[in-house]
């Protein structure tokens, strides 16, 4: 596969849409900007497996949050044409042959255009970021430049304080399922990217309100 070999190549030329994206970050968000003025893009991906080296994104779901409001008209649900099909993953996600799958390039372009310079939010977001950066690499982007917020970390920080060591707690205490249950968010459409993104979005709404009460009101203190 042509694009596969490109991943492992050395210096990749930057495509125009990557350059446009990178130019958005010439000025950082000022730390004193109130949370109500920030836009968060809450996202989730479903993949063929858990190994960023071998596996691929099957679907992507996201929704934006601004002024403490989740806006349904910003919701995204995208399926991708993936080169590999993994039996196990298909059994979990029940996505066999996505009908309107985007090509990797179209997805990369659309994705960067959609996230702009907003703050990326996800539950246990590190893995999604690795997978997304893998998709973007062939087009000359080494690293996503957006600020990143993990709802798992934020929940721990708010409940247990900033110095909490997650290895001390019960396993699964901060999983998305457990947190949704604890915060009274109705679980459905689990294990679709868009469904999980929506759940995470609702969780973020509640966490941000909680944070506000603890004096976390601006970008600087939120991202600390």
């Amino acid at each position: 596969m042509n694009w596969l070999s490109r991943i492992f190549g050395k210096e990749l030329p930057k495509t125009a849409f990557v350059e446009t994206y990178e130019s958005l970050f010439e000025k950082p968000i000022p730390p004193m900007r109130p949370i109500s003025q920030l836009t968060f893009v809450v996202l989730d991906t479903e993949t063929t497996g858990l190994d960023p080296k071998k596996d691929f994104i099957i679907s992507f779901g996201a929704i934006k949050l601004r002024s403490y409001v989740l806006k349904i008209d910003t919701a995204q649900e995208i399926y991708l044409k993936t080169p590999v099909k993994n039996k196990e993953a298909i059994q979990v996600h029940e996505i066999i042959d996505p009908i309107e799958g985007l090509t990797i390039k179209d997805f990369a372009k659309q994705f960067l255009d959609y996230i702009g310079r907003d703050i990326i939010v996800g539950h246990h977001i590190g893995f999604d970021l690795l997978m997304l950066e893998k998709v973007l690499k062939p087009f000359g982007l080494k690293k996503l430049l957006n600020p990143v917020l993990d709802t798992q970390y934020l929940a721990m920080r708010l409940e247990k304080g900033p110095h909490y060591d997650p290895s001390m707690g019960k396993p699964g205490e901060y999983s998305l399922d457990n947190l949704c249950e604890r915060y009274g968010i109705e679980l459905d459409d689990r294990h679709t990217a868009a469904g999980d993104a929506f759940l995470t979005g609702q969780l973020l709404l509640k966490l941000l309100k909680m944070a506000e009460k603890k004096g976390i009101k601006d970008f600087g203190t939120l991202m600390r």
């Binding site: 000022p30 004193m32 900007r33 109130p34 109500s36 003025q37 779901g61 929704i63 403490y68 409001v69 989740l70 806006k71 349904i72 008209d73 919701a75 995204q76 649900e77 309107e100 009274g184 109705e186 459905d188 459409d189 679709t192 868009a194 469904g195 993104a197 929506f198 979005g201 609702q202 709404l205 509640k206 309100k209 909680m210 009460k213």
Partner: protein, 648 residues
């Protein structure tokens, strides 16, 4: 593509009326536009007396109380449950909320923009009836059957009698006092106070033997100038009075009275027979009288702004000002008045923001915080023409400081600027895409640097620099040391004197956008992109006029008139040959401002792009007529500044 998120919202709504009456397609349209909000315990979704929001609400989970404030007590009128619809009454009746919506337990609420729903309301009579029934049953539209719709009609009638936003009534509603307490000069303050106490009033006007007003003393003056300064009660009144007094005729236009009081921060305005202070006194108007006659007026808003330090509250008040703007535009109130009011409100917000920023950062900069500076508004806000909260353009000029202090001073000024910008963004203004804002180190400079920058533009103008620089020529001092701004202005006019090449460049700039009528006198619309087939009213009509007015006023070396329509008015005096044309141009600019603001309010945008085919016939004609003076003025400029030789 089916979307899991939209579907989930849809599935929820479907379970409850009136959404259960909707077709799949309509429901999907609604679901797509929903906003999900989360409220914690005791938060208010809306408050009694607030203007209706552009949404009504469906409770997704949690519990919301609708309460009514009565004699200082909050009484529960209704308890909303999952699936209940509320906040509809205010929206459909287009009047302020009658109740508070207070969150009892933390709640997720779906906010549904009324714009999507209104269409459905018209199409689907069952939904319409359902809401009508809701009017009768009170605030919550749920769990009722349609048998109550009969009762609803009577309630409807009452609603239509309500004038909604009480904003701008005629003068007949204005209660002023014609029985004014006066005293002659030389009266001792103890006697004046006794008279005030006896009559139960808060002010006394000092008059001469012909009953002409000389000055005024208010309760506040007694506190500040008598008691606080430990003065004797035997002080004569003329030592304490505020003088001269500002006077008007009592039959002056209401807007004029209003504006005079707001602009001068007057608590009392004195009426005299001929309106001057050299005629006998006939009455007195207090700001309290105005408050009473005006429910949701500029005075109320300004008063509210002056009494809060909460950004959230300021943002709310600025939103209310926008309702006021819509009302003014609907009722054809003069643009000059509207623009003054809105600019005044914007100015107060900026002043507040600067004060708040100083409070926050001054303790960290004990020395530097004493450096004098002036916050300038540029562009349309500088010209007092910004009706909608479009892009911010502003700058800071500070006094010249020793070289060793420049860096630290700039650091402080930028912190202040950044804080001000954050507050303005929170109040609904948009950042400048070209980054012409005070928090940009380029535009936060000492006076000497500003002078050098303007000199540079004037001595060696180039097209691109000038296009940006035009924004700077319309600056206006908002808060701080205004002398700095005046010094800069003087510098600019000295520099311009005799620099015809600069005016030529400016003239060329003013001709960049040709008259917006095409060969067949059709509108020139955008040919591609997102704004395809729309008419750019800012670029093609307003900017040419603003540029022309600025150029001509600068060429006459007139200082201190920033407003485009006021500039044309002044030009009508300066150029009697073209008097008619100048007045027409000013008028055209007012019409364009009004159209843009109306378009912006209707579409929730900056109003810059207008769809010609959506305009009514009269509006199209008005718009076309507004272009005529642009064409003529551009021809004059072509000749006057000899641009024929200057091309390329």
């Amino acid at each position: 593509m089916a979307n899991v998120i939209v579907n989930r919202v849809k599935e929820f709504l479907k379970r409850y009326p009136p959404f259960s009456f909707l077709s799949e397609d309509s429901l999907e349209q609604v679901a797509k536009e929903v906003e999900v909000r989360y409220f914690s315990e005791n938060e208010l979704l809306f408050e009694q007396g607030d203007p209706a929001q552009q949404y009504f609400f469906v409770l997704k989970e949690g519990s919301v109380l609708l309460t009514e404030k009565k004699d200082g007590q909050e009484e529960i009128v209704e308890v909303c449950d999952e699936g209940d619809v509320f906040g509809v009454l205010a929206l459909l009746g287009k009047r302020p909320y009658l109740l508070n919506a207070r969150v009892k337990e933390e709640s997720l609420v779906y906010a549904i923009p009324v714009a999507v729903f209104e269409k459905i309301l018209h199409e689907n009579s069952r939904v319409g009836l359902y809401f009508a029934a809701g009017f009768a049953s009170g605030q919550v539209v749920v769990r009722t059957d349609l048998s109550q719709s009969q009762k609803a009609r009577t309630t409807f009638k009452e609603i239509s009698r309500d004038s909604g936003l009480l904003i701008f009534t005629g003068q007949s509603d204005l209660n002023y006092s014609s029985d004014v307490l006066t005293c002659p000069q030389h009266t001792l303050i103890r006697d004046a106070v006794a008279a005030m106490a006896e009559k139960g009033v808060g002010s006394i006007v000092i008059v001469n033997e012909k009953d002409h007003p000389l000055g005024i003393i208010t309760d506040k003056d007694l506190r500040n100038r008598l008691i606080a300064r430990n003065k004797s009660y035997d002080t004569p009144v003329e030592e304490l009075m505020t003088t001269p007094v500002i006077t008007k005729r009592k039959d002056a236009a209401f807007s004029e009275l209003y504006l005079t009081m707001i602009k001068n921060r007057l608590h009392h305005l004195i009426f005299t027979e001929d309106g001057s202070s050299d005629s006998p006194i006939t009455g007195i108007l207090s700001d309290h009288d105005i408050l009473l006659s005006q429910g949701n007026s500029p005075a109320v808003l300004i008063n509210a702004l002056m009494n809060t330090w909460e950004i959230h509250e300021m943002a709310k008040i600025r939103d209310r000002a926008e309702k006021l703007l819509a009302y003014y535009l609907e009722n054809e109130v003069s643009i000059e008045f509207v623009a003054s009011i809105i600019s005044e409100i914007n100015d107060i917000i900026i002043r507040r923001a600067v004060e708040m920023a100083k409070k926050k950062h001054d303790p960290d900069f004990p020395e530097i915080s004493k450096v004098k500076f002036c916050f300038l508004s540029l562009g349309s806000e500088g010209r007092e023409e910004q009706l909608l909260r479009t892009d911010l353009d502003n700058a800071i000029v500070f006094e010249n400081v020793p070289l060793s202090k420049v860096e630290e001073t700039k650091e402080y000024m930028l912190l202040i600027a950044q804080q001000v910008i954050e507050i303005l963004l929170a109040c609904g203004f948009k950042p400048c895409p070209a980054d012409i804002m005070a928090n940009n180190p380029k535009y936060c400079q000492p006076l000497s640097t500003w002078k050098a920058m303007f000199s540079d533009w004037i001595h060696s103008p180039n097209q691109q620099a000038l296009m940006n620089a035009t924004i700077f020529f319309d600056y206006r001092a908002i808060i701080g040391n205004k002398v700095l701004a005046e010094e800069l202005t003087e510098h600019i006019y000295n520099e311009i004197a005799g620099k015809s090449i600069f005016l030529n460049f400016l003239a060329k700039n003013a001709l960049l956008n040709p008259p917006p009528l095409g060969f067949f006198r059709n509108f020139i619309v955008e040919k591609s992109g997102e704004q395809k087939d729309k008419f750019d009213i800012k670029l093609r009509a307003m900017m040419p006029l603003a540029d022309i007015a600025r150029l001509l006023v600068l060429s006459h070396r007139v200082v201190g008139i920033n407003n485009t329509f006021k500039r044309f008015e002044k030009l009508a005096d300066l150029e009697p040959n073209y008097r008619e044309l100048m007045l027409e141009a000013g008028k055209a600019y007012e019409i364009l401002m009004r159209m843009r603001a109306i378009e912006g309010l209707n579409s929730g945008s900056s109003g810059r792009y207008i769809q010609p085919e959506k305009l009514g016939k009269l509006q199209r004609q008005l718009l076309k007529n507004a272009f005529a003076p642009i064409d003529e003025l551009q021809k004059i400029i072509q000749v006057r500044f000899q641009l024929g030789y200057f091309r390329n």
